[in-house]
């Protein structure tokens, strides 16, 4: 066990995976000599050299296209996209190619690439260093979508991603890269996909949150507890595959659901969770499902505090749900 930040846990996971398997390599912009703009690949270039820690030209479609070619050939590339906001030149490679290779070839050409990208707001990054667009990827069949919220989960989910057989979009909550520390197990510690984490037990309302929204959601639950409302907090950890039964079971118990994400509400992933609850837990619901999300606007710079969900907004939504029924 070691006490690590989330970004250190990712670094540790990458280094251990590369030591264990010579087919694992990382590629991306500034990942080599510089160790990544967030230092996620710090030290890897020195240990593994330029053939396994590949500084690429500034082209996301180049990074993803070459990573796909490497994967088809049998390597296990981990591609870093510097910010999720810059992934769109590679969108075609991700949704048209990576996601579809296994399917379109009838299983002849599986294509296992891990795409790591820091996402989300709260770092004064404005429109192009803050977005949370997980729903685009979750909507595309063939991609697994993973979002850790603790250092231990970050390492455990990353190792599972690298050992998986399918493409994985691994979204890292950069706002809490260094804001949270925690005990991280040594060695080949893997967390299976599709298993939600029960962050906190409660009986009155279920709060569902992932990534950087988990800390304010836990804070909201603590506020609510001081008021006598017992909130349960569930972190799905992987949006695809989604642990639907954990979310449904929690809401069957509490009868109330508050879904939190920083992405805009309309068409956001929270809508999918709400639909699943409406389909599978309708008769347990005592109050309308509530979503606490970003506004349906581009991500603002000066007013990001207004845009982002926080503990107060989450607690208020939970209180309203409890008051309703």
């Amino acid at each position: 066990m070691a006490e690590l930040t989330l970004v250190q846990a990712i670094n540790r996971g990458l280094a251990e995976a590369m030591r264990a398997d010579p087919d694992v390599l990382v590629l991306g912009e500034d990942v080599g000599v510089n160790g990544g703009v967030f230092r996620a690949t710090e030290g890897l270039y020195k240990e593994f050299g330029e053939s396994r820690v590949v500084d690429t030209p500034l082209s996301e479609t180049g990074i993803l296209g070459t990573a796909i070619g490497m994967a088809l050939y049998g390597l296990k590339p981990v591609a870093e996209i510097q910010f999720l906001d810059f992934i769109y030149p590679a969108f075609d490679q991700i949704v048209s190619e990576l996601a579809k290779f296994r399917y379109r070839s009838g299983g002849q050409f599986p294509c296992h690439v891990v795409v790591r990208a820091p996402y989300g707001g709260g770092i004064k990054g404005g429109l192009y260093h803050s977005q949370s667009t997980e729903a685009y990827f979750a909507h595309t069949p063939g991609l697994k979508v993973v979002i850790p919220s603790t250092p231990a989960d970050a390492k455990g989910l990353l190792l599972s991603a690298i050992h998986d057989e399918d493409p994985v979009i691994f979204l890292e909550p950069k706002r809490i890269y260094r804001a949270v520390t925690g005990e991280v197990p040594d060695g080949d510690h893997r967390i299976p996909f599709g298993h939600a984490r029960l962050v906190r037990e409660g009986s009155d309302v279920s709060l569902v949150a992932y990534g950087a929204m988990v800390p304010p959601t836990v804070e909201a639950a603590e506020q609510l507890a001081s008021e006598g409302i017992q909130a349960e907090v569930i972190d799905p950890r992987t949006l695809v595959p989604l642990d639907e039964s954990a979310v449904v079971a929690s809401v069957e118990k509490t009868g109330r659901a508050v879904i939190v994400h920083e992405a805009p509400r309309f068409g956001g992933f929270g809508g999918e969770i709400a639909a699943i609850l409406a389909e599978k837990a309708f008769y347990s619901l005592k109050a309308p499902i509530v979503r606490v999300t970003g506004y349906d606007t581009p991500f603002p710079y000066a007013l990001e505090n207004v845009y982002l969900p926080n503990a107060e907004k989450i607690a208020a939504a939970a209180r309203a749900a409890v008051r309703t029924g």
Partner: protein
């Protein structure tokens, strides 16, 4: 555009191999005619493959009109380029095709039956009926299953070459694409990465002069497509794609350089798309019959036939037999392919992931409980 200008600007290349503008320092001049040509028996094999490919092409256009396959994109006019290229490659080399590479697949050893199975989308289709016709793939031949977006395979070919470099495998990867793809994002990214990492990649551009309705001169102001390689730090070569020997020589020497560690090559094989872009296209809307007639005089198949006859390697009786055999082979393959059972409805849920997710398992239970809707197959 005035028709006369069209004809002039699109006149077929005359020399069998033309080097790019002599001032370009990165340019590679292909070996002179005669040196390193295909041997007589290889030339006969090339001819047979071209005949089989032409026969298949013509038959598939009519199968689509009869509603027996859903779509088809012919390679009419590009046979020599494809066969010449594929013959210069080795079994361990990797192909990253676009969707018009039928003759490459045949030359690599893909069976005609498996190609026809893909066009029909039956249960025998290796790609399980997932894609529209022409998007076949054969893992055994390192012939990667094609997609429809233009140019995406170019960066992938470079990535596979980077992987081969890492494993020290003495192979090349080949990206197949057309003139239109030279405008795509991935053309730029792919050639740029290939230059930077000096990958063993052959960029095989079949410039068939038309990207659906857009003529080559409206695709780029560059004099040739091959000269674009120079900006990426490696050589480009223009080759007459109707000459199977010229293509073979150009690819063989590009392969040699790549395996030696001397990096990638862009080959522009100048051909002409004698047919429509696809069965959904009407080329009369954008090009003249005169232009097509001019290029028909340089039909690669007729050209090779004349060469073989002149060299005493082929007589009329043998030629007739080759065509007859190709037709008979196709007829029997077609009969067999059309008697294959259709894809099972539940197969729609396979291969999304290595293992189905709980959600996909739930969808399978739903699907199994529903009646199969009408209108299956290629329709």
């Amino acid at each position: 555009m005035a028709p006369d200008r069209t004809v002039i600007s699109r006149a077929p290349v005359r020399a069998s191999v033309t080097s790019v503008a002599s001032a370009a320092p990165g340019t590679i001049t292909a070996a002179p005619s005669g040196e390193g040509d295909l041997a007589p028996d290889q030339t006969m094999s090339a001819y047979r493959l071209m005949v089989l490919s032409r026969t298949t092409d013509e038959r598939c256009l009519s199968l689509q009109r009869q509603g027996r396959i859903g779509f088809y994109a012919p390679l009419l006019g590009q046979e020599a380029a494809q066969v010449g290229c594929a013959l210069a490659l080795k079994a361990d080399d990797w192909m990253f095709p676009a969707y018009r590479e039928l003759a490459v697949a045949l030359t690599r050893g893909a069976s005609l039956k498996s190609i026809i199975d893909q066009l029909i989308g039956s249960a025998a289709d290796l790609t399980k009926g997932r894609q529209m016709p022409n998007h076949f793939g054969f893992a055994d031949q390192h012939f990667v299953t094609a997609s429809s977006p233009i140019g995406t395979q170019i960066t992938q070919a470079v990535g596979a070459a980077m992987a081969a470099q890492r494993r020290k495998d003495p192979i090349v990867t080949v990206a197949f694409f057309g003139d239109g793809a030279t405008s795509s994002n991935d053309f730029h990214a792919g050639l740029n990465f290939a230059g930077v990492f000096r990958t063993p990649t052959i960029f095989f551009c079949q410039n068939n002069q038309w990207a659906i309705s857009l003529p080559r001169e409206k695709q780029t102001r560059s004099k040739t497509l091959a000269e674009k390689a120079e900006a990426y730090g490696f050589g480009g070569v223009v080759v007459d794609g109707t000459d199977v020997h010229a293509v073979y020589r150009a690819v063989a020497s590009a392969r040699e350089r790549a395996v030696r560690g001397d990096g990638p090559t862009l080959i522009e094989a100048q051909v002409y798309r004698l047919g429509p872009h696809s069965t959904s296209d009407d080329p009369k809307r954008y090009r003249t019959d005169e232009e097509v007639a001019l290029w028909k005089q340089r039909d690669p198949l007729a050209r090779l036939r004349n060469e073989l006859v002149t060299a005493g390697l082929l007589d009329e009786a043998t030629d007739a037999k080759i065509w007859e055999e190709a037709r008979a082979q196709l007829a029997s393959v077609l009969t067999a392919a059309e008697s294959e059972p259709p894809m099972a409805p539940s197969s729609i849920l396979d291969d999304v992931f290595a293992q189905p997710t709980p959600r996909l398992l739930e969808e399978r239970r739903q699907l199994d409980a529903e009646p199969t809707p009408p209108g299956g197959g290629h329709g």
